[in-house]
Chain length 76, copies 2
């Protein structure tokens, strides 16, 4: 079984990495890019015994910093 | 308009970051995690004039290192 977790900085939290990408795209001549946010995606290869609740606990305890990041879990 | 780009290391390319996460989850008592791959996700806020072809060019030229990374683009 696979789980895909997406972790993004919460709205309002400054994203210097995303800003750097936005500037670079502008400097390369790509117009029309108003904002860039960069996050991470984590793909887990899991035994069938692992539930979505287990994955949520992994996110809360290790994979996301819930003070500044939000996460979403997609199973399957 | 939004675009979401997911960049992952290609199959066969070592992912030390993912390995570190796998070890950490095991050490924390989470069993049944057979593999972890970590990638990045980039969300672009775009003018409507920007096409999916433009986004693909951004990926090829800046956002992904196509030697070792694959990417997927999702518009909308």
């Amino acid at each position: 079984m696979k789980a895909r977790i997406q972790v993004m900085l919460k709205t309002g939290v400054l994203d210097p990495q995303g800003e750097a990408v936005r500037h670079a795209l502008g400097a390369m001549g790509f117009d029309g890019v108003n904002g860039v946010r960069q996050g991470k995606v984590i793909e887990l290869d899991l035994d069938d015994s692992v539930s979505e609740e287990d994955v949520t606990r992994m996110c809360e305890q290790l994979l996301a910093n819930t003070v500044i990041e939000s996460y979403s879990v997609e199973m399957g």
